[in-house]
Amino acid sequence: MSAAEKLHLHSETAQPLFSVRDLTHLYGPEKGCQGVSFDLYPGEVLGIVGESGSGKSTLLSLLSGRCPPDRGSVSYRDSEGNWLDLYSASEAQRRTLLRTEWGFVEQNPRDGLRMGVSAGANIGERLMAQGVRHYGELRAAGIDWLQQVEIDPLRIDDLPRTFSGGMQQRLQIARNLVSSPRLIFMDEPTGGLDVSVQARLLDLLRGLVRELDLAVVIVTHDLAVARLLADRLMVMRRSHVVEAGLTDQILDDPQHPYSQLLVSSVLQP
């Protein structure tokens, strides 16, 4: 690696990928989220934890371009190095981002998959939206990604509804990752699954995140999931972020009384 390349690499990781300032959207007093700011760096995994109703999911909608905030900004640095203000960007830019450099893994795979078409078509959709017009290529990508998420490639023509819950979730992940995104949002990705299935999925996710150097924002109420995947955590309560920091730090030595309560209420792994 040349010095120039090293310098470039250094500047690439030294600059945030995603920058959030004073993000606020309230449905009622302390319902929603307010005053949230943070930076996310390439390859970094940010966990958002808190009980239901704390504003986690609202925050995720705001971050991922699904719901315009009352105030505040969300900016993203694209693969060309240009900063884009999510909510002043055009609808076309936002949509392009959502189907290329970004991904979104829904809690319920039914919301993130096209249930009426085969696994292969689900995986190929993003590529087709980007203009791939070669059936053979789409097919090859489908088989490759099924293998990467540990689904038997022979099932490429099966409908997602014939898959188990864990397989559907893995298929949803493959469908998102096929376009080589840089940033993935996840909403309780292990939410509806059995414990043993959860463990396998988490393992797979952790491997893929490291391998593909993905930045991830993951919402979860499960601290074990957070510990396994997240580099940093934000603890939310009643629309506010009450504590933020490195995952180990927060889980092993929580400062805010609410974080302490949250941590003490679950068994340590």
Partner: protein, 292 residues
């Protein structure tokens, strides 16, 4: 042709030439000009209630009424034939309300209103095709919301169209859409060519005739201007193909026209005949002349 001059041709008392009032015709013509300027784009228009039911060609009839002049010669086909009841009924409507000359011969017609076919006889630059369209939105069966489909068109967000084609190939080994086969017009808008068989799609490409499409119930019109690129959606390694028959027409022997299948006896014996009755007739006339 001004309104006064046209009025004297009207044969039905109490109605304007070609039924619609001149204001409405002007409104439709403005829509048509926009449609021609943006090939394949669906222009909303203030569709009127016609004295025929929605779904029976009210969109096509409004377009025909808006462009018809007293000197025009009108041909109306349904399923390729001039003799089907709906074609008869629409032809009569314009014969009564506009008093225009009608014909069944494709080369003689200046305006051809059609449901589900494009004539086999090549069209020329002096002809206008008017298509009756039931559902103008090619994305409708994937996305039911109009607000969303309009956004998808605006952003050229068409990836999902290929999902359907991919699925066909994965399931059947080839694309299984046989009519109302979606096309890209002038490398921009995805368009429903109306429920013509895909056999007719290639006739849209670089046609010298102006193609107008009207959907009355949905209140949309769109156009393919002469000499416009019209490409049927496909994959590089699964190119678009049209239907072929092993049989030929039982009347005229044509091997390259679209054939209708007839069941001629209780044993289910089949015969195949041209769906385009005028084309078939022309070929048989030529044969007779040749024999003489």
């Amino acid at each position: 042709m001004n309104a006064q001059a046209q009025t004297q041709y009207a044969t039905e008392v109490g109605y304007n030439f070609a039924y619609l009032d001149e204001q409405t015709k002007r409104m439709i013509r403005r829509g048509l000009l926009k449609a021609v300027a943006i090939p394949g784009y669906q222009v909303p228009f203030g569709g009127r209630e016609m004295p025929l039911p929605y779904g029976w060609g009210t969109g096509g009839m409004q377009l025909t009424a808006a462009i018809l002049g007293a000197e025009d010669v009108l041909k109306v086909i349904d399923q390729g034939a001039d003799d089907t009841t709906n074609a008869v009924s629409i032809r009569r409507f314009f014969a009564r309300t506009a008093g225009v000359k009608t014909t069944t011969r494709t080369p003689e017609a200046t305006v051809i209103q059609t449901r589900h076919r494009i004539p086999e006889t090549p069209l020329n630059g002096d002809q206008i095709m008017v298509y009756q369209v039931p559902i103008p939105e090619p994305l409708r069966f994937i996305e039911p919301s109009e607000t969303e489909t309009r956004t998808m068109h605006a952003l050229e967000d068409y990836g999902v169209m290929h999902v359907k084609l991919y699925e066909d190939i994965a399931t059947f080994g080839h694309i299984a859409t046989s009519y109302a086969y979606p096309v890209t017009v002038d490398a921009r808008y995805v368009m429903d060519p109306s429920p013509i068989p895909k056999f007719d799609n290639p006739k849209l490409h670089m046609s010298p005739a102006l193609m107008l499409f009207g959907a009355g119930r949905e209140k949309r019109l769109y156009a393919v201007p002469p000499f416009t690129r019209v490409v049927s959606l496909d994959f590089e390694d699964h190119p678009f193909e049209i239907q072929r028959w092993d049989e030929c027409c039982a009347f005229c022997g044509s091997q390259d026209s679209y054939l209708d299948e007839l069941i001629v006896d209780d044993a289910g014996t089949k015969r195949f005949v041209c769906s385009d009755t005028d084309y078939c007739m022309q070929r048989r006339d030529l044969e007779e002349e040749g024999a003489q």
